[in-house]
């Protein structure tokens, strides 16, 4: 089980990236947030988000991962797993 505060920390950083990339200060992401919940989060912006997150955390997602993430929470857990390696 992942530490909750680490997850919260990562989620906060990711929230900042969403705000920056999607240019909307009002975005608040939760564990369950999906692309369907955020209007600007389309497939092109998804790419920009993934690349921005990779740069911020110094990690690289795999092709399969970026297809499989069901929501922001899973994405953040994916980030944490990579940071631990």
């Amino acid at each position: 089980m992942l530490q909750t505060n680490q997850l919260n920390e990562v989620m906060e950083t990711v929230n900042g990236i969403f705000i920056d990339v999607l240019e909307d200060d009002g975005i608040v992401v939760k564990y369950e947030t999906t692309a369907a919940d955020i209007a600007e989060w389309d497939s092109l912006n998804h790419i920009a988000l993934v690349v921005a997150i990779e740069k911020k955390f110094g990690i690289q997602f795999t092709a399969k991962e970026i297809q499989d993430f069901k929501n922001v929470g899973e994405m953040c857990e994916g980030i944490i797993l990579k940071l631990q390696k």
Partner: protein
Amino acid sequence: MKTILSNPDFLALKKNLKKDFSTFSTYKLAILGDSSTQLLNSAIRGYGYEVGLNIEIYESDYGQINQEVYNTSSGLYGFKPDCILIFHSTQKLLSQFYKSNETEKDRFGENHINTISSLFDKIKSELNAKIIYFNFIEINDGVFGNYSNKISSSFTFQIRKINFELMKLAIIHKNVFINDICSLNNQEGLKLSHDPKLYVNGDFVFSLDFTAKVAKNIVDIILSIAGKIKKCLILDLDNTMWGGIIGDDGMENIQIGDLGIGKAFSELQAWIKQLKQRGIILAVCSKNTESIAKEPFEKHPDMVLKLDDISIFVANWESKVDNIRYIQSVLNIGFDSMVFLDDNPFERELIKKEIPSVVVPDLPEDPSRYLNFLRGINLFETASFSEEDAERTRQYQEEAKRTVFKESHKSEEDYYISLDMTSEVKLFDKFSTPRVAQLTQRSNQFNVRTVRYNEQDITNIISAPGYMTFSFDLKDRFGDHGLIAALILKQQQNALFIDTWVMSCRVLKRGMEQFIINEIVKVAQSKNIKTIIGEYLPTPKNVIVKDLYSSLNFHNNNNLWVLDTTDFTPFKTYINATN
């Protein structure tokens, strides 16, 4: 120079999309690609914002290059683009290649070149548009390893052949420009230029970072086609052209050639000398005592640049802002066509602040990095090259001599007479076509309607019925200015409409305008044409020709300028015609 211009970031470009483009001029660009181009689309439009262009984009559906080009009722033709980007990716080519048999593989490059050539021909028959074609990133597919270089049916062999043949094709097709992503990739490497997960998930062949660089490269080409090019490079000396401080260290101790890190400066100078030979004007702007600053140029055996290479040498203790303004006034070119190189961040910031349109690259701290950095940011993109370019330095030096000579004469008239000016008036021909096209593309000031023509356009005009064309050169006792003015006249019933009148600003105030109008009226009279019509279309830069027609006794009629050739007294000039 803003980082986003020299090293653009995709996200920053994307953010520009929401900004206000309404004050910019519009350029219509069609993108035809065989892979996903949406990200490139955003990056190009976003980069356009940085250079003040509203690039309106038509993006074809995925993989529809042939349909768009060969079906004349396609969206492409409906859009009427100024320019068409055609992007065949190496990845698509490779999968095509793998479906070919051995004989087909051997002819693969040739076949692809034929395909491209037909596309170009079809577009040319339907549209007067520029074409920007992407060359190919040379992927070694690893099937033969290094040995692929020895096998004509290998992908390595064929892709390189295509890149080479493309250059030959672009020489033939004047309206075709190559977007050299192969060179761009050589700078970055495939690891950075290609992001496999974007490719697998979305069929994007470029990484996000590389997409931004490709967008810059494309806009660089578009700007150069539009005549927005760099014409002059202004050089600081100490620690920019050589290592050390000439005033303190003395000529023997500056680092150039084999001394210290002199190699970095020698190679930079060698590159700058090539730019000069290509037609970039070199100026020096240095805080130094003039005689001391000139000494290495005259005497140091390892200096690649000599005094002859420099059109204007300014070394004093005044502010560089004033000195650059002085250089601009002598050359009479726009600040936005000047680049200033200086190792000192203080001087750079000062110029950026005081003369923001001068391009001031932020040189890396280590001089050994100067050259790669400067090559990498592609400051000297051009859309044409003529022999006259190479002559330019000499012409500007002659101009400096004329300035001194002029000061020695009592009256202007006296001066003009003593100049012994002659001008050869000719119809455009295949020899003058490149220079004429270049004048229409580059002249921003003395350009009454600012219609840009490329070489192909000029060739078409020469043979089109109802057009008359004239080129003028100018010689005087100090030298040859070369071809300095071009006119395109269109016959409209019993009148001649001046479609284009461009002139190099080097020859202003010589009576050239009066000489030209005398000649044009002579031609009109010989053909019994009673009226010559001129039009002035204002731009931010051509205010100097605002009153051209009124000064030549044209009268205003509904925003057009009209001259009656039956009642015309030739102007007095000091230029003799030669034919």
